[in-house]
């Protein structure tokens, strides 16, 4: 009895996993090269970026909010990363991570202290952050000649294992531990499930929310670093597509937009699904005109399958 219930409890994750294997199977039937090591490396590189930004995003979505500024944070981080790596060397990594943390912290402050819905607050800050990126450098920046070695720390590999996977896994492990084994992680779930009760139970809502946004900024910063390193460049529009992608990754994995249900593990599966979808359609050679249409249909289908709507009385 106990076992059964437990399975029912995490069912959406199984469905997401099933969805993932289904897609792998279909794409492999479509073109056998899909499961080659080379392609796996390509996919996982993309997945690492989606995962990093998605892990940040899920912290905010679990509280019931949304962070529309992750793309701008990635852009700003990429620009600053390229600007400072020549002078600061390896110190550039902590510097831009702190930058991401700071941007997330700012979001958290605005949402919790000014009491503005996160959709609006982060829509506003994304404009501010992107302006800062433009002011720092309007034109695209490349890696300075002397710093390729430093950037290639990200791009390198240990045998067949690419370093980005390790970064992705470490990040995942960190976020997983945060969600499952810290008070902050629980606090995020409590707020998402019932904010009023959390307040009445003495939780420091503002602090938890600010931290959730700070984590989101951190995830975006890591994603920005990987993206910047993968492309050897930084410029203000580099992260533009990641706002919606990060949300897609979270919801495709089965996390509810209303908060309090789902989590980090779902986001891992969501980013795998989105990663292989993007890659698989190209590998099996779907007409580029039709890819976007398929992507749209598939995200709806994916969410329809993975998202547990029975618990929701109201669908907004």
């Amino acid at each position: 009895m106990k076992m059964k219930l437990r399975i029912a409890g995490i069912k959406p994750i199984y469905i997401s996993l099933g969805m993932f294997f289904l897609l792998v199977a279909v794409f492999t039937i479509g073109d056998r090269t899909f499961i080659s090591l080379y392609n796996a490396q390509t996919i996982l590189n993309a997945v690492a970026i989606l995962l990093a930004v998605g892990l940040g995003q899920v912290c905010v979505i679990l509280t019931g909010g949304i962070d529309l500024s992750v793309g701008s944070i990635m852009s700003l981080v990429s620009v600053v990363f390229m600007l400072v790596i020549g002078q600061l060397g390896a110190w550039a990594y902590p510097v831009v991570m702190v930058l991401g943390l700071g941007a997330g912290f700012l979001n958290g402050l605005i949402v919790s202290k000014l009491r503005i819905p996160s959709f609006i607050a982060t829509l506003g800050t994304q404009g501010i952050l992107i302006s800062v990126a433009y002011l720092l450098s309007a034109s695209p920046l490349s890696v300075p000649e002397n710093s390729y070695g430093l950037v290639d720390i990200i791009n390198g590999s240990i045998g067949p294992v690419k370093n980005v996977w390790i970064i992705g896994l470490v990040l995942f492990a960190g976020f997983f531990a945060m969600q499952a084994y810290t008070r902050l992680g629980r606090g995020i779930m409590y707020i998402g499930a019932n904010e009023r009760m959390s307040y009445l139970s003495g939780l420091d809502i503002d602090r938890i929310r600010i931290l959730a946004f700070t984590f989101s900024g951190f995830g975006a910063a890591v994603a920005g670093i990987i993206l910047s390193a993968t492309l050897y460049s930084g410029y203000p529009s580099i992260g533009g597509t990641y706002v919606l992608n990060s949300i897609a990754v979270v919801v495709v994995g089965g996390t509810a937009m209303t908060g309090g249900a789902g989590g980090v593990l779902n986001t891992l599966i969501g980013s795998l699904i989105m990663g292989i979808l993007n890659n698989g359609m190209t590998v099996i050679g779907i007409d580029v005109y039709a890819q976007q249409v398929f992507l749209g249909v598939l995200i709806i289908v994916a969410v329809a399958v993975t998202f547990d709507r029975r618990k929701l009385a109201i669908i907004k």
Partner: protein, 344 residues
């Protein structure tokens, strides 16, 4: 539960449709990586690529990145995964520094490729044996030409406004540099206002409306591409100033050529997209087939400016006959026929 089942079936259906779309033909995969098919310039580019691929029995694969450099890189890698060495590429990098990872990936896979437009100066084509050529059209020259033609149409004096492209974009920056060079040589012209319309027609229209309020005596509009020039032109038309306030743009869009013909625009520049689409693949395929030996090519043939077609009221009729009414015939084996100058 029943619903879930239905949805799983829907996934299966959708995916079987997807697989049905998959290409099964054989031949050399000819990858064309461009920004988006939503603009006419790249749409023509894709047609050129298709036309060349058809002429040699290859498989044209058009990849659009919709503004995401990372998607462009991943798509290229996905095709490499699929085709291995049996592929060639012609690429318009989304942003200039992106050629580095793209070149590294293609080099590592041993795939010949040609790039266009965007490349940081520090990156040397000759460092990559499979990078057949980097071809560009001088944005500075185009910007300067557009400026000069605009000033000429204004009689060498008056106020102009300028609309820049995407702020961080190399081409946009180059063309604007060209305008500034032209301005230096034209003491009678003042630049009254500059703003960005992000290559976009609607935004150009809106910015122009506001410009016209602040500068009712504006004499001409310099726009970094035709799309924005046409947007500005609509605002000018709405203000009843069409023909009096002339615009210049760049790209050679059909509507812009018509505007030059009608006397509403002073000039545009055709960067022959159809040629780009075909020639990039042709060069890369020639290297793959051993028709040209990349190692022995002189440096100036590895990175060069190609011939852009300058359109003014003087040559408008022949332009219309060649580029609008017909498609110019290109000899895909004349690899360096459009060569103008090396990129330094």
């Amino acid at each position: 539960m029943k619903k879930t089942l239905v949805l799983v079936l829907a996934v299966l259906l959708a995916l079987s449709v997807t697989t049905a779309f998959a290409q099964k033909a054989s031949g050399v995969f000819m990858g064309t990586a461009i920004r988006s098919l939503e603009n006419p310039y790249h749409a023509v580019w894709a047609r050129g690529a298709q036309s060349f691929a058809d002429s040699v029995g290859g498989i044209a694969v058009i990849q659009t990145c919709e503004g995401s450099s990372e998607k462009q890189l991943n798509d290229i890698k996905a095709l490499i995964a699929k085709a291995g060495k049996n592929a060639v590429f012609s690429i318009d990098p989304n942003e200039s520094p992106n050629v580095i990872p793209i070149a590294k990936a293609l080099e590592a896979a041993g795939v010949y490729f040609v790039t266009y437009w965007n490349k940081p100066d520090t990156v040397k084509v000759t460092d990559y044996p499979h990078w057949v050529a980097h071809i560009s059209f001088s944005g500075t020259l185009a910007g300067e030409f557009m400026g000069n033609e605009l000033f000429k149409s204004m009689g060498g004096k008056g106020k102009i406004v300028a609309l820049q492209g995407m702020l961080a974009n190399t081409t946009a920056i180059e063309r604007y540099t060209g305008l500034q060079a032209a301005l230096k040589k034209a003491p009678g012209i003042t630049l009254a206002a500059v703003d960005t319309a992000e290559w976009d027609r609607t935004k150009a229209f809106e910015k122009m409306k506001s410009f016209l309020v602040a500068n009712p005596d504006v004499g001409g509009v310099w726009a970094a591409n035709d799309n924005m020039a046409l947007g500005a032109l609509e605002a000018i038309r709405a203000a009843g100033l069409a023909g009096k306030v002339k615009v210049v743009g760049c790209d050679g869009v059909d509507e812009m050529i018509a505007a030059v013909k009608a006397g509403e625009a002073a000039a545009t520049v055709i960067n022959p997209a159809f040629w780009q689409g075909g020639m990039g693949l042709s060069l890369a395929l020639a290297a793959k087939d051993g028709k040209i030996n990349v190692k022995t090519l002189p440096v100036e043939k590895r990175a060069f400016f190609a011939k852009a077609v300058e359109v003014t009221s003087a040559n408008i009729d022949s332009i219309i006959a060649t580029y609008v009414k017909g498609t110019p015939k290109y000899d895909w084996n004349d690899y360096y026929g459009s060569y103008v100058a090396p990129i330094k």
